[in-house]
């Protein structure tokens, strides 16, 4: 349809063709954008390798689900819906916006496929989208500006508030929506006047609103609005494009890519350096992330992609108890540091005199900040664009270990692990002392496996369950279950070393390798064809990080299977207590085992179980951390365990069932310190089941 208004590409202003602007604005805009992106990509080129092109099928699925499907967003309902509206709107509007740019120098241009009926439907859809986006932007501005939710607050030590930037971008988007619609509305009004209008006008859209309010405007006025709205849109569009890579809205460009390239092998820690095998580690000059380019390129892309939404920190237990760690600011501080080190104009002085190669620890990160992480994974479970934190924390710890910057409280257990294979410095031969306790030994025999004494199943006990007076009860309960299910099993005894799950996560890679190698040797000598453990930390590393050993499973999985095969039968619960299951991080979030323990509990006849609804499964709240974390002395206001016990109490439970010895330590302690002894108790799943074996 011929427009009655002069299109921007043909218009003149005081005798000057506006086509020049229609051409210049995109050229300048695109050139500037390419330049900025080049500057942004530079640090990625200097960063460490990272392999992210495997398992394409799984990547596409993740992309569809978490990226296009925005699956993580509804976890925070208000912000989530607003984001989904704007995101979908952008996808729809992108096409029209590109078309509009070309209209600036080719009058009446329509992208192939956008003419005719399809085009009409698309325009209608686009109008709805623009309206919803504008609406969402207004709500977001009100919410962000007037009711600022707590998680957006920036603590003083992390710099200035980010509200201004957020609101500014919302205004820009609104302007785009308004000008887009006005540019659309002006010719429609002219057509209406002449009675030629064939466009579909959806009532309630901004276009509809403009048509309704401007229907009596003169042709001259409409012509002006038509051109003004076009060029404002053109200018703002390219301004926005170039503005995106300057701050938290970079995620508009990098977000989907970041999701496609995300980490797929949960539960394992990245190698010290991608492409370097364990045997070659000795040749590496340096370990871990000391300077910014020691991060992998993907980790730098993570920093760029952080939208500053604060969901990670909102769920971070360390942040909650006021440890000096907020995952959000790990990303934001690193991003700002990169922007500073790689400025858009000129060269950074720091880089020239090599100051930019200084340790990040002590510069933008603090030692305690990095040691405060329990590696629970709550932040990663929450991030809508799958930013990784644990690998970065571990890489920073590796650097500290390499430089000797390890708190004294951790040096002793690390030394003992090196010498004795357990963090307590206990004698190796006492690792299996628990099997010889009189009452237990009379009831249940436990073999110690070796090349001479074999069994089908190896029970990997790990350090705390072997040595701690309280935790050996878990080992004994586990043995009783295996015994009752008539499974031929045994333990490694003094040949077993600490599994090293936390040793690795605390950055002592070489010690982890030694422990792992010794365990692998002992496991293969045992002749076992399957492994079971009652410790999710051991389970995690055996399953995800040990190579060439039989399949490892957690006792909860084994219990469930035995129940289903009727090899175990359970007696009814008679105490009348209310139970709640606490998901250990290394069983749940890191290995997706949420249902087996619940089903096992529910298999006890007439047991009453409740849920900590908002804090269960992948939203579980960490008990305080396991392994070496028990030795670390963080600054904190309260303990995570205390909060967790409170959650259980609020859920109406008297008994917290967990499936991890470290959770047991922390929760048991928290019950005592909260003065809830007698009111609340904690029991391990294995103990609960063993108590109910018929």
């Amino acid at each position: 349809m011929e427009s009655l208004l002069i299109p921007p590409a043909n218009a003149e202003f005081f005798g000057m063709s506006l086509k020049i602007f229609g051409i210049l604005i995109p050229i300048i805009g695109v050139s500037l954008f390419v330049y900025i992106m080049f500057k942004r990509i530079l640090p990625l080129m200097q960063a460490q390798p990272d392999f992210r092109t495997d398992k394409i099928g799984e990547r596409i699925m993740t992309f569809l689900k978490v990226g296009l499907g925005q699956s993580r967003h509804p976890r925070f309902i208000t912000a989530g819906i607003i984001h989904i509206v704007i995101f979908v709107g952008f996808l729809i509007l992108a096409l029209n916006s590109s078309n509009l740019v070309i209209v600036g120098f080719i009058p009446g241009f329509t992208l192939p496929g956008l003419s005719g009926a399809v085009g009409g439907v698309y325009i209608a859809l686009k109008n709805i989208a623009a309206t919803l986006v504008l609406f969402a932007c207004i709500i977001a501005m009100i919410r962000r500006g007037l009711f600022t939710p707590k998680r957006y607050k920036v603590p003083e030590k992390y710099g200035h508030d980010h509200t201004a930037e957020a609101v500014f971008v919302l205004i820009i988007i609104s302007v785009l929506m308004i000008t887009d619609s006005l540019f659309e509305a002006a010719p429609i009004i002219e057509h209406l006047k002449t009675g030629e209008a064939k466009e579909i006008i959806i009532p309630g859209t901004i276009t509809w609103l403009f048509v309704a309010t401007l229907k009596n405007a003169s042709q001259g006025a409409l012509q002006s609005l038509y051109l003004i709205s076009y060029f404002i849109h053109d200018l703002v569009f390219f301004f926005f494009l170039c503005f995106l890579p300057l701050g938290k809205h970079f995620h508009v460009i990098t977000g989907l890519l970041n999701i496609f390239l995300s980490k797929l092998n949960k539960g394992s820690i990245k190698p010290v350096k991608w492409g370097i095998s364990e045997e070659q580690l000795d040749n590496l000059e340096s370990f871990g992330v000391k300077k910014i380019t020691d991060f992998t390129w993907k980790h730098i892309l993570d920093f760029y992609s952080c939208a500053d939404c604060g969901r990670c920190s909102d769920r971070c237990p360390a942040n909650r108890v006021k440890r000096p760690l907020s995952p959000r600011f790990i990303s934001i501080k690193a991003r700002d540091y990169i922007f500073n080190e790689y400025p858009l104009c000129g060269a950074n002085k720091n880089r020239q005199d090599k100051k930019g190669d200084n340790m990040l620890i002590g510069d933008i990160f603090e030692e305690d900040e990095i040691w405060s992480c329990t590696t629970c994974g709550a932040c990663e479970a929450e991030c809508p664009i799958l930013i990784e934190y644990i690998d970065k924390i571990v890489d920073l710890r590796r650097a500290m270990v390499d430089e000797g910057m390890v708190p004294q409280s951790l040096q002793k257990p690390l030394g003992a692990l090196n010498k004795r294979g357990n963090p307590y410095g206990k004698l190796e031969k006492k690792r299996s002392a628990w099997i010889k306790e009189k009452d237990f030994a009379a009831e249940c025999e436990v073999k110690t496996l070796s090349a001479k004494q074999n069994a089908d199943t190896l029970y990997f006990v790990d350090s705390i369950t072997s040595y701690d007076d309280r935790m050996i009860l878990i080992a004994q309960a586990t043995s009783k279950i295996l015994n009752a299910a008539q499974i031929d099993f045994g333990i490694l005894g003094k040949a077993e070393k600490d599994s090293g799950n936390e040793v690795r996560r605390f950055g002592e890679e070489m010690l982890f390798c030694e422990l792992k190698d010794q365990n692998i040797e002992a496991i293969s000598a045992s002749g076992a064809t399957s492994i079971v453990t009652s410790d999710p930390h051991a389970f995690n590393t055996l399953k995800n990080e040990y190579k060439d050993i039989p399949k490892a499973e957690h006792i909860s999985q084994l219990i469930l299977r035995q129940l289903k095969q009727n090899k175990l039968t359970l007696s009814p619960e008679t105490t009348g207590k209310t139970y709640v299951y606490h998901d250990p991080c290394y069983l749940g979030r890191h290995n997706d085992i949420y249902d087996a323990p619940r089903e096992a509990i529910d298999a006890i006849p007439s047991i009453k179980r409740v849920e900590m609804t908002d804090n269960c499964k992948d939203k579980s709240f960490c008990c305080g951390g396991g392994g070496l974390m028990l030795f670390y002395e963080p600054e904190e206001e309260t303990r995570m365990g205390t909060i967790r016990v409170q959650m259980a109490k609020e859920a109406g439970a008297n008994v917290i069932v967990t499936a991890c010895p470290f959770c047991m330590v922390n929760i048991e302690d928290a019950i005592k310190t909260s003065g809830l002894e007698g009111e609340m108790e904690v029991i391990d799943l294995a103990e609960l089941i063993a108590n109910h074996i018929k």
Partner: protein
């Protein structure tokens, strides 16, 4: 500043269960694991920090068998520049004076501005530093928990009773024995030790040092360990019974006897 630190390989009580062997001649050697003596480790860290501030070098030296080399490597991984192993059959069973005279012979071959030792060891007598200083005719301070260096002399803090700190000025060269807590020793992992694994560590024997083998080792020792035994302790608590008053009286007597009352 050229700094020498005397270190020793010893079983750490945190990592071992110390018991006496069957015939009471020594502690049970089975299952023992060894480390660098904790106090010595603080001394090495202090030496490294001083060197990093004022320049110079740090040398670690130990008297022991070939296994003692591992503690030298560990301290070199920490940052010490050189290691010297003094090892000779003739040195076995030396008393404190014997060890000090062996170290003295080595020290006189070099030129050191500052000599550090640990204040004590779990299996020692806290004597080497003081003896060495006297043999070398150098000023000495023990239990040092702070060192400030300024031209030609040091200002040092000594840890004395009641948590107080005694500040002294001491001329260089001197010998100091270092108390734990003076610093926070850096961590040394397996990787650090592997990095220095191939560095040659010179071994000195009695003849290298020109020592008379009759003056050191068992032959020269005037102080000898005769045997080891476990100080008497009961098994499990002795439960006090009676009225509160009676129990309190019994307890007071026990506390008096055990030094639990001032």
């Amino acid at each position: 500043m050229e700094i020498l630190v005397c270190v020793k390989r010893a079983p750490d009580t945190l990592e071992n269960e110390i018991t006496v062997n069957k015939d009471g001649t020594n502690i049970e050697q089975e299952d023992l694991v060894y480390s660098v003596n904790e106090w010595d480790n603080y001394a090495v860290e202090e030496a490294i920090q001083i060197r990093d501030k004022v320049g110079g070098s740090v040398t670690v030296v130990t008297v022991g068998d070939e296994d003692a080399e591992e503690v030298l490597r560990r301290e070199m991984a920490m940052g010490a520049d050189n290691g010297i192993l003094i090892s000779d059959k003739a040195f076995e069973n030396s008393d404190g004076k014997g060890i000090a005279s062996i170290l003295k012979a080595e020290i006189e071959k070099g030129k050191y501005d500052l000599i550090l030792t640990g204040a004590q060891a779990d299996d020692g007598a806290g004597q080497i530093g003081g003896m060495l200083a006297a043999m070398l005719d150098l000023p000495y301070a023990s239990l040092v928990n702070k060192i400030d260096s300024e031209d030609g002399k040091l200002t040092i803090g000594r840890e004395i009773e009641g948590g107080a700190q005694e500040i002294n000025e001491i001329e260089l060269p001197c010998v100091l024995s270092i108390q734990t807590g003076i610093n926070e020793p850096r961590y040394v992992g397996i990787r650090g030790i592997r990095k220095v694994a191939s560095i040659e560590i010179p071994v000195r024997t009695a003849s290298d040092l020109g020592l008379d083998t009759n003056a050191v080792g068992d032959a020269g020792a005037k102080v000898k360990k005769l045997d080891y035994f476990i100080p008497e302790t009961g098994d499990g608590a002795e439960m006090l019974t009676g009225s509160q008053e009676e129990i309190a009286d019994k307890l007071i007597e026990l506390l008096k006897a055990k030094g639990g009352m001032k």
